[in-house]
């Protein structure tokens, strides 16, 4: 079998620019205003040359580097790695959305990407109109869409609402329709980025079935997911990325094992906050955050799973005297919903620090029963209703996995809380049922 995609020495560089934080902390409003007026003036006078102006502080960041591998026809390649490992950047380059900085990719065949379902859906248009529009955006011809139309509608189960604007659709219907269009693309290469976690359980099963079918047609599939169950059930081969580099490749089982081992070896969820986005008046500053999943016996786990304890340790430094401030740790899901707010005020505690002092604050979240998925932790320091000394919305990110003991079927079911439950099934005799009617 021939290679469908050949990737040679691929790299992608981004330039990050951030303000000097020492300076930013003591910046007066007047300085901000004069600087922005100056910048604006400069931009108006030389709109095209502003990129040549020296940037105050910029840094190169390689999202991908020296990636080389081959994909053969009919292969289903799973791409795994931590957040920021470069998985999505790789798919973006392959789908030609963004350009590589170095290297070369040779593709044999049409590429379609399912980077996000429903791209280009217009809320005012009807379901029927959106099928055509979305199909065209994904690269289908009108003939192709017409031919597949019934199949798409059937798959999405929206026959009754075809002539209703999609803004009146329930979110489930919307996603079903969007996935249905994308799943019927007739391309040789399909790129999939974390789109299977949509809809209700039955629809998810349908999607997984469809993905199997797509792959058995001899199409080549590249799949990015944080869900190890999806990766191991759908892919035939796997690669592991870390900090933009290709670390390992092989069978899904082997790579998933390597990945999980690596996660447990390195300090999980550790993050230096000097480059994070901070808000607040800067009277105090969070320097770092680290997270450790621990089991009931206080032993460190390889990864966070439903029911484990999460130990967060924060280091905070005071830049002025801080009296009776509150420290808060908040956990958000991927939709940005705040799920947990643990703070010292709830327990009647406060943090008092002298100027220049540092403190380590530990939070132990017990029996965390979040559903598998990606969560972010935010931090806050200040006095409620008076001032924010420091706040970091995205301090660190972590994955929750399903716990092995209480999950036999690990498809990504919706919901946020992995409640412990028992069940009991009793068949009801027909006669009993009749009586109770």
């Amino acid at each position: 079998m021939s290679s469908v995609i050949t990737i040679e020495n691929l790299g992608k560089k981004y330039i990050l620019s951030h303000q000097d934080q020492q300076k930013a902390r003591y910046l007066a409003l007047r300085d901000v205003m004069t600087r922005s007026v100056k910048n604006l003036g400069r931009k108006i006078i030389h709109p095209l040359s502003s990129e040549k102006q020296p940037k105050p502080n910029h840094e190169e960041f390689w999202a991908l580097r020296e990636i080389s591998f081959d994909i053969r026809q009919g292969e289903r390649l799973g791409i795994i790695g931590r957040n920021g490992a470069g998985k999505s950047t790789l798919l973006k380059i392959l789908s030609r959305i963004t350009e590589p900085t170095t290297g070369k990719v040779r593709c044999n065949g049409r590429v379609a990407s399912l980077l996000e379902v429903g791209t280009g859906f217009h809320p005012e248009l009807t379901g029927r109109e959106n099928i055509f529009l979305n199909g065209a955006i994904l690269g289908m011809s009108r003939e192709e869409i017409k031919r597949k139309f019934d199949e798409i509608v059937d798959f999405a189960e929206v026959e009754k609402f075809l002539d209703t604007p999609v803004k009146r659709y329930s979110s489930g219907m919307y996603v079903r329709l969007a996935f249905a269009v994308a799943a019927h693309l007739e391309t040789e290469i399909l790129l999939v980025d974390e789109v299977l976690a949509v809809g209700d359980v039955q629809f998810q099963k349908k999607c997984l079935g469809k993905m199997d079918e797509v792959a058995s047609d001899g199409k080549t599939v590249l799949l990015v997911s944080h869900n190890m169950a999806t990766i191991s059930s759908l892919s035939t081969k796997c690669i592991l990325l870390d900090e933009g580099r290709l670390i390992d490749h092989g069978t899904p089982q082997k790579i998933i094992e390597t990945f999980q081992k690596e996660l447990s070896d390195t300090a999980f969820g550790q993050s230096d906050l000097s480059h994070a986005d901070h808000y607040g008046n800067g009277r105090g500053r969070f320097l770092s955050i680290s997270m450790r999943p621990v089991d009931k016996k206080a032993e460190t786990l390889a990864y966070a799973e439903a029911g484990c304890d999460l130990e967060f340790e924060l280091v905070v430094k005071a830049y002025t005297d801080l009296n009776s401030t509150t420290v808060a740790l908040t956990i958000y899901d991927q939709q940005g919903v705040r799920i947990i707010d643990a703070n010292t005020l709830i327990q009647g505690k406060a943090l008092t620090l002298k100027k220049g002092d540092k403190a380590a604050v530990k939070f132990l979240l017990k029996n965390v029963r979040l559903k598998p998925g990606v969560y972010t932790a935010g931090l806050w320091l200040g006095i409620i209703n008076q001032f924010d000394a420091d706040g970091v919305r995205y301090a660190t990110t972590f994955n929750m996995e399903a716990s092995r003991e209480d999950t036999l079927f690990s498809a990504p079911f919706p919901g946020i809380y992995a409640c412990e439950f028992e069940h009991d099934i009793k068949t009801i005799d027909v006669e009993d049922a009749m009586e109770s009617d």
Partner: protein, 277 residues
């Protein structure tokens, strides 16, 4: 069914443009769908719908006729003043709408740009097409107006598509340029409405360009819409109206130049759109 060699392509830094025009052709249906979407969506949830594309030029025409024709008593060169104004209003509204829509088009479609690949040129181009549809609707209004004044155009009206083409390139060229600039500098979001508003008064919409002194006319024609509007008047009104040829050529040259620069700037920057939008 498919000959795969057809789809072989190479992705490399700075090399995306090799199959650019071929891609553009194979995505022609998307172009049509985007224009169709914008037309469908344009007047959704409005009470009087498409009538808006008739009311807007009509009301402006009435105001201009009163101010320039009745109060300022500008010369019309024999034609009824409303027709003089409307013949200029049509291309100007087309230009203004096209410019406003296309310069914002990339940003309005940002979620598409960052998620799917397609030749980006389609986005501002389809915005110009939407403005063209509005133009055709108001053109019907011009015909009605001519019938009302029992004004019969001569053979010159057949040359109108030529001037329309010129208006198309003027707005497409500027639109492309501004839309690409807008991705990087959102300042253009505020500059474009200003250009459109200001341009209405400095272009010969409310008056005939004959009122401009001859020694300034060539300079005045640096505005490409001067040539377009003069052309429209020449074609529609006929009779005594004439084209100031050096000025017209100047407008054509400026139009071509703007289109060329616009397309070059767009092509140069479009590869980074997804990263900086």
């Amino acid at each position: 069914m498919n000959d795969k060699t057809d789809f072989t392509f190479v992705i490399e830094a700075g090399r995306t443009e090799r199959h650019y025009w071929k891609d553009l052709w194979s995505y022609r249906e998307l172009f049509y769908f985007l224009a169709w979407r914008d037309i469908l969506v344009r007047y959704k949830q409005t009470a009087i719908g498409v009538s808006w594309s008739i009311f807007r030029p009509l009301l402006t025409m009435i105001v201009f006729t009163i101010i320039f024709g009745k109060l300022a008593r500008m010369p019309s060169g024999g034609a009824p003043y409303p027709i003089l104004v409307f013949a200029a209003m049509l291309p100007w509204q087309f230009f203004g709408n096209a410019l406003a829509e296309s310069s914002n088009s990339l940003i309005d479609n940002a979620n598409m740009l960052t998620k799917v690949y397609f030749p980006r040129l389609i986005v501002p181009a389809s915005a110009v097409i939407v403005a063209l549809v509005d133009f055709l609707i108001s053109f019907v209004l011009l015909l009605l107006l001519m019938a009302l004044y029992r004004f019969v155009p001569d053979w010159r009206i057949l040359t109108l598509p030529l001037f329309l083409l010129m208006a198309f390139f003027a707005s497409f060229g500027c639109g492309m340029w501004l839309s690409a600039l807008n991705v990087k500098y959102r300042d253009f979001r505020y500059i474009v409405p200003f250009i459109v508003q200001f341009g209405l008064y400095i272009s010969p919409v409310g008056f005939s360009s004959d009122v401009v002194p001859d020694k300034w006319r060539l300079l005045y024609s640096l505005n490409p819409m001067v040539g377009v509007i003069d052309g429209f008047r020449w074609a529609i009104i006929g009779g005594e109206s004439r084209i100031y040829l050096p000025g017209f050529i100047m407008s054509v040259v400026v139009t071509l130049l703007v289109s060329l620069v616009g397309i070059r700037y767009f092509r140069k920057t479009e590869r980074q759109f997804a990263d900086i939008i």
